[in-house]
Symmetry: C3
Subunit: 202 residues, 3 copies
Amino acid sequence: MFYFIIDALGIIAFSISGVLVAIQKKMDLFGVFIIAFVTALGGGTLRDLLIGNTPVGWLKDPVYLSIILGTVVFAILFRTRLKYIKKSLFLFDTIGIGFYTMIGIERGLDTGFSSIMCIGLGTITACFGGVTRDILCNEIPVIFRKEIYATACILGGIVYFLLREFSINDAYSYMASIFVVVGIRFLAVWFKIALPNIYKTT
Amino acid sequence: MFYFIIDALGIIAFSISGVLVAIQKKMDLFGVFIIAFVTALGGGTLRDLLIGNTPVGWLKDPVYLSIILGTVVFAILFRTRLKYIKKSLFLFDTIGIGFYTMIGIERGLDTGFSSIMCIGLGTITACFGGVTRDILCNEIPVIFRKEIYATACILGGIVYFLLREFSINDAYSYMASIFVVVGIRFLAVWFKIALPNIYKTT
Amino acid sequence: MFYFIIDALGIIAFSISGVLVAIQKKMDLFGVFIIAFVTALGGGTLRDLLIGNTPVGWLKDPVYLSIILGTVVFAILFRTRLKYIKKSLFLFDTIGIGFYTMIGIERGLDTGFSSIMCIGLGTITACFGGVTRDILCNEIPVIFRKEIYATACILGGIVYFLLREFSINDAYSYMASIFVVVGIRFLAVWFKIALPNIYKTT
């Protein structure tokens, strides 16, 4: 139940971020819904396709679709007030990528991949919904340009496998890694930290 | 045979729509062919990937490739006259999405998905060829912005499952749903109906 | 061993081409890495997804990831000098598409597809990494617009199946086809040959 609530909060946060971008692009109702959908579920879908874990999850369980539909209706009705909850959104979104990272890592471990590939799958789960959103909106994906986002997922994944190495209880490692992802993202946004700039000399 | 002809007409219409967009973007011959191909088969390909129904259909049956190749050659040779058949094209395209919607729904039923997911798969089959076309041409997908297109597919799918509920003969429900898709799209274009505008107050 | 070296050279050349495009788009370190990755492995990934050959290869063997990581680090460190090796890059890239084409054809033959579909899979393997790179960078794919690139792959594939038809030793056919791909691309670039222009009359 706890996991389900967190998962749902992540989907809601991702959906709302999709709605906001789609509205900015003046999309119609269908477009707004699709952008919300791919933002929330695109990362997990790509992960499942790469693993060969088909049919993809959301086809089998309509709860995902329902949450997204509800969120989109809510977000469109209250679209002028979404700016007031921008901070809560950032909170959900950040907790969301923490959990999505660990969900992706778990799926990788279930299929027996090496730890590096599991971290890759976790990062794909957390980040590629946003990448697909930006491609459909005809933008260069924002996480390729300026934000500490994927980096937080990768570091969280590394911490998880280090803690496992020291045979620490799996539930603790799991939670600790999520805190690492969330913490790094918070610190990066708070202190305006970005990846090292490689363009000074070019 | 009847189904095959309709299916082929849909592929031809979608291919020509791809050729028209690719020519507008000044693509070369290879680019024009690829855009025609993804417009015609992109939706079904995404559906099959999501379901896990691989290898995807067009790899197994070269007839699809042949139809598209022939259409592209024809469309390029007569490219200056394509505007005269624009109305026939719209007809084919609209009949095409009607059939594609039902093909997608059938594939979903075969795999045992819920009716909502089947409608989703039908809509993906009918619409995502055009979405992939627009992405490859560096445009925001047109169906996210202004046309009643996906909405027609969704409503047609709902009608199909309602008719099934009343245990009406499946072939009748099938044809009726196609008429609903085609009819809604015709009416929408005729009366210039779009989805409700959500941008008045923003 | 010989194959591995050529394969690695192809991956390196494709990765560097990805790094160059990503730097031009002012992406950050993570973005540069992802663009290098999809340029090198995007074509093979799409091929494996379409065939249903999952999990995709690079999830199972970390050597691909290692080569790309090493190349990206190298390319970023020496980014100001990359222009001096542009000719070597073109060489690697061209040899790369030759081998990628044949790898794709082989995978198609293993799965029992017709020769036309095998050529299609070879072309996808060689070309769609670059297509994905361009889409993620918000450009219309360059191979749809002006370069003899896919055409070289297609012709190389046709030569391969013609030679097989005459029951020529498979290893010879294999190498001959790679030479055809490489040769056509070299000649096309040397003599500035493009596909016939279809825009004179429009």
